[in-house]
């Protein structure tokens, strides 16, 4: 077995870029939110400080083995998603370990972290945790339905299950992007991305001032640091996934940063002006509008 150390190095470097960009992006989003509320907002380096602070907490308690493993599963879900995601199109170094058929794997990895978290937070024994978990799993299941429909529509449209190929098919002008060639699938996916990012109106997993703060209630210190690291990675990688599938991918890091920012901003923008759904309303909503859009996208093929 020969290991490509060059590839490994660049993958690790990519992970660091994604992590830092994710932290900066969350700071920027919070600053934008603060400005809308006429506040100055947090300093731009606040997420890094929070992360260092969390890792520097001296004492830690445990509730059992699964409690340890919950954040680890979550992080491996995020990193796994990253590993199989081609970041920059056309570059051999920044495509990570993507291969033919990685689309299926990525859909799986999206769910993986959630499940690991469910096991870990469930062992925490805090009622808010498992209420949040049950909400999160049921919502995520319904998000997956329109999302999978949209992905199937694209896979059929481009006759491939490889993300790199899908990006390649969209090159050569803005009109080749899926958002214009297959608007219904894009609409379905962009609505389900609202749920995936977990901002209001679909933030009922964490649901501040209802079940504060859902699954991570018992997690602290290093556990929380791991969870926050994962969140930073996951947000960027999910934005990159949607960028690759619908918005023509990125040929440079700059393009990736701009596009992932805009995709993430879309969910923050909606969250700023809409209150939160109840869980049954959220499930019903996902099974109505995005699902119908997804089915139309399938039918139109």
């Amino acid at each position: 077995m020969n290991i490509d150390f060059n590839k490994l190095f660049f993958t690790f470097l990519g992970l660091m870029i994604v992590l830092n960009w994710g932290l900066l992006m969350s700071a920027l989003m919070r600053k934008i939110g603060a400005r809308v509320a006429k506040r100055y907002g947090i300093p731009w380096f606040q997420p890094w400080v929070d992360l260092v602070k969390n890792y520097a907490i001296r004492s830690q308690i445990t509730h059992g083995v699964m409690f340890y493993l919950g954040p680890v599963f979550r992080l491996s879900g995020g990193v796994g998603l990253f590993l199989f995601m081609p970041m920059v199109f056309g570059s051999d170094l920044w495509t990570n370990f993507s291969f033919k058929g990685d689309l299926i794997l990525i859909l799986y990895f999206q769910f993986f972290g959630m499940l690991g978290m469910a096991l870990g937070a469930g062992e925490g024994g805090q009622p808010h945790s498992f209420i949040g978990i049950s909400r999160g799993l049921s919502q995520f299941t319904t998000i997956e339905v329109p999302m999978t429909l949209a992905v199937i529509a694209i896979a059929v449209q481009y006759q491939t299950l490889s993300i790199s190929d899908i990006v390649a098919a969209q090159q050569g002008g803005i009109m080749n992007w899926t958002v214009f060639t297959n608007p219904f699938a894009t609409a379905a996916a962009m609505l389900s991305v609202l749920g995936a990012f977990g901002h209001s109106p679909f933030n009922l997993v964490k649901a501040p001032n209802e079940i504060p703060i859902g699954p991570p209630t018992e997690y602290h210190g290093t556990y929380l640091g791991v969870l926050r690291t994962n969140a930073a990675i996951l947000h960027v990688v999910e934005a990159v996934l949607f960028m690759n599938l619908f918005f023509g991918g990125a040929t440079t890091w700059i393009e990736l940063i701009v596009k992932s920012f805009l995709i993430y901003f879309w969910s923050v923008f909606v969250g700023m002006v809409f209150p939160r759904f109840r869980i049954e309303q959220s499930v019903a909503w996902f099974l109505k509008i995005p699902l119908i859009l997804g089915i139309i996208a399938i039918i139109l093929l």
């Binding site: 520097a56 004492s59 001032n209």
Partner: protein, 232 residues
């Protein structure tokens, strides 16, 4: 996935727990009701363990950097214990905007570092405050608001409010006034940051060192003590 896959034999389990953490061994304890039960700390949520002193990092440079991070990221427990909590919302909104200084609210004691005792403490709340305080992780800081926490303030003769907070939990910074304005609170946060950066924010360890004294004081006024002595 069946449960058996994960299950170790009892002997294995004991060895593992002895290796990792001796305080996680099975043992017999006396509950607050006087009943004697056997507990397995890895599975049961019952603790009679005394808290431990967590020493600062031996490297001074590292500790200085970590203290800077701790000072710049103060996560406050969202627990409005008294009337001072009316000034917390203005603190987080456009006029005063404490987010600028790295002050953020957290809803759970596990994740917070600072607990603001906003004014007088009724005995019933004191019990909850002690629980919340003990559930917070080291290092942790206490910011006491208002004259009621210093000497009882205008409730000096009340039968239900405590007079001196520092007899029950260690206090880092007092903010005087009734009520203190948000500016005073911000200045209190500034003072707390100075203390942390200077390495003086070790009150959590002081609580551990004087644990018996604090517990005796707490038990003197909390009549029905139906919880373990220390809640992590």
């Amino acid at each position: 996935m069946t449960e058996d896959n994960f299950k170790m034999s009892n002997k294995q389990e004991e060895e593992v727990s002895k290796f990792f953490a001796p305080e996680n061994e099975k043992r017999k304890v006396e509950t607050p009701d006087g009943e004697i039960i056997e507990i397995n700390p890895l599975q049961d949520y019952f603790s009679d363990a005394r808290p431990k002193v967590h020493h600062p990092n031996t490297s001074k440079v590292v500790e200085k950097f970590l203290n800077w991070a701790r000072a710049e990221s103060l996560w406050v427990l969202g627990f409005g214990t008294g009337c001072g909590s009316i000034e917390i919302p203005p603190l987080l909104t456009p006029r005063f905007d404490a987010f600028r200084f790295g002050v953020q609210m957290r809803p759970t004691p596990r994740q917070s570092n600072v607990i603001i005792i906003s004014g007088y403490l009724a005995v019933k709340t004191l019990k909850r405050v002690i629980r919340s305080y003990e559930q917070m992780q080291n290092p942790k800081y206490v910011l006491a608001l208002g004259s009621c926490t210093i000497n009882g303030g205008m409730y000096f003769d009340s039968y239900n409010t405590i007079n001196r907070l520092d007899y029950y939990i260690p206090v880092d910074v007092y903010v005087a006034g009734c009520m203190p304005r948000p500016e005073a609170l911000l200045s209190g946060f500034g003072k707390l940051k100075e203390l942390i950066k200077a390495g003086k924010g070790e009150k959590a360890n002081e609580y551990v060192e004087k644990f018996d004294w604090y517990k005796a004081n707490q038990k003197k006024i909390i009549q029905d003590w139906n919880m373990p002595d220390y809640n992590w």
